[in-house]
């Protein structure tokens, strides 16, 4: 990506994101009808489910970046991986916070061991461990290698985690948090959902650019420091 495009993105992304967020907010709160059974609380759905999709997408980016890093050895893929992992965790936190806040009024309990929510929790733990591992390794190239391995293994595990928890849940059924993104969603609701998804995706892109830039600066700082300090 050329320098000009990069700088352009830096200026445009916040603006586009803000615009999309405003539109999404308007659509979700003023246009979409209130859900019949759950009432107003269902509007959490518009932030809960798109965030889950974005966090999953982020972890996919970690996976691809990790593979690219191991294949090419170029540090920028490592920068991409850590950026995507961090942002993925941000969206994951949103899913895990809005989930119980939605569940309590609807089901009377904070946590229902719902397959999707529980999988998100396990995912959260895997990528927190990913970030903690990165913090525990000082040498940049070793750190990148080890992180890439975890990034790949972690993502390969994701579908398996989801399936296993789902099958576990069918043996011991419990309430489900959302009736699935596709299960009989009103076309009006789809609009709200899609606008939110677009806004969050734009937000992801903006976060990613900034976090990547931060990582690039850190790499520059680290290499300058190493140059300056005499080798033992």
């Amino acid at each position: 990506m050329g320098k000009r495009t990069w700088n352009l993105a830096g200026a445009l992304l916040p603006a586009i994101t803000a615009a999309l967020l405003l539109i999404a907010f308007y659509v979700v709160f003023l246009e979409v009808p209130t859900e019949r059974t759950m009432g107003v609380i269902q509007r959490i759905f518009y932030v809960h489910v798109p965030s889950a999709w974005i966090s999953f997408f982020a972890f996919f980016v970690v996976f691809v970046s990790s593979l690219a890093y191991l294949a090419t050895g170029q540090a920028r893929w490592d920068w991409a991986a850590v950026s995507a992992a961090e942002i993925g965790l941000v969206y994951c936190s949103i899913v895990l916070t809005t989930g119980p806040l939605w569940a309590k009024p609807v089901w009377g309990i904070w946590w229902t061991w719902d397959a999707r929510l529980t999988s998100t929790l396990v995912l959260f733990m895997i990528y927190v461990a990913y970030l903690l591992l990165r913090n525990a390794v000082s040498d940049p190239s070793r750190r990148a290698n080890l992180a890439a391995a975890v990034g790949i293994i972690g993502f390969l595990d994701v579908p398996i985690v989801y399936m296993s928890i789902r099958w576990w849940r069918t043996q011991h059924p419990q309430p489900v948090i959302a009736g699935g993104a596709g299960s009989g969603l009103d076309p009006e609701m789809w609009r709200g959902f899609l606008w939110c998804l677009a806004a969050f995706l734009s937000l992801f892109a903006w976060y990613f650019r900034e976090r990547y830039r931060m990582e690039r600066m850190r790499a520059e700082l680290e290499s300058l420091q190493r140059e300056m300090s005499p080798r033992p």
């Binding site: 895997i126 903690l132 525990a136 390794v137 391995a149 790949i152 293994i153 398996i160 928890i165 099958w167």
Partner: protein, 198 residues
């Protein structure tokens, strides 16, 4: 490691009345918790030992390549865990009044699949965390979430076995464990050279 698993099982007996009907239902889970935690403790030493005297670099010089080092480590870790399980299992059966005789091959199969999967993940992450800060904490932090599918499958399959239900019902879990084992062993083999790279 054996001793630790036994201690856990004894403590579980205090926490959960072993003769009660409910405990029979969770007995499978208790057994696997004991094996899992003991396993992590035991296996964390697996690569830690290699860091002294640069054993690992020496091992990697063999013409067989890093993949062979991984498989060798894995095989020895599996053997190590199975040996511990072989001792702990009969004692567990005595405490929880579970007959081991009937349909034992099924239990052996579950144990083998589960132990292989768990050891393959633990061996890989043991190599990854070998030279990192807070190594003892990082290993379980990484292994346990990744192993969730394996743990669920092992507990469910064991529960089916303990309850005397037809093993046909546990096929799903056995397939999951087999798939998990294959995927993680292959992935670990492919990633191992990068993990031990200097």
């Amino acid at each position: 490691m054996m001793v630790f698993a036994l201690i856990l099982i004894v403590i579980f007996s205090f926490a959960f009345e072993p003769t009660a009907e409910e405990t029979r239902r969770i007995a499978g889970g208790l057994l696997w918790i004991a094996f899992t935690f003991a396993g992590i403790l035991g296996l964390s030493r697996s690569f830690a030992r290699e860091t002294t005297n640069e054993c690992l670099q020496g091992l990697l010089l063999t013409p067989a390549g890093p993949g062979a080092v991984y498989l060798g480590k894995l095989a020895s870790n599996v053997a190590f865990m199975l040996a511990a399980e072989a001792v702990v299992l009969p004692i567990f059966a005595v405490f929880y009044n579970i007959g081991l005789g009937s349909r034992f091959p099924w239990l052996a199969g579950i144990l083998l699949l589960g132990t292989w999967g768990f050891a393959s993940v633990s061996t890989t992450f043991s190599a990854i965390t070998a030279n990192t800060r807070m190594r003892e904490l990082m290993l379980p932090l990484l292994v346990l979430p990744i192993s969730v599918p394996l743990l669920i499958a092992m507990v469910e399959a064991t529960a089916t076995w303990i309850a005397g239900e037809p093993m046909r019902e546990a096929y799903l879990w056995l397939q999951l464990m087999t798939g998990f084992d294959i995927i993680f062993t292959v992935a670990s083999l492919l990633l191992f050279p990068y993990i031990v790279e200097e």
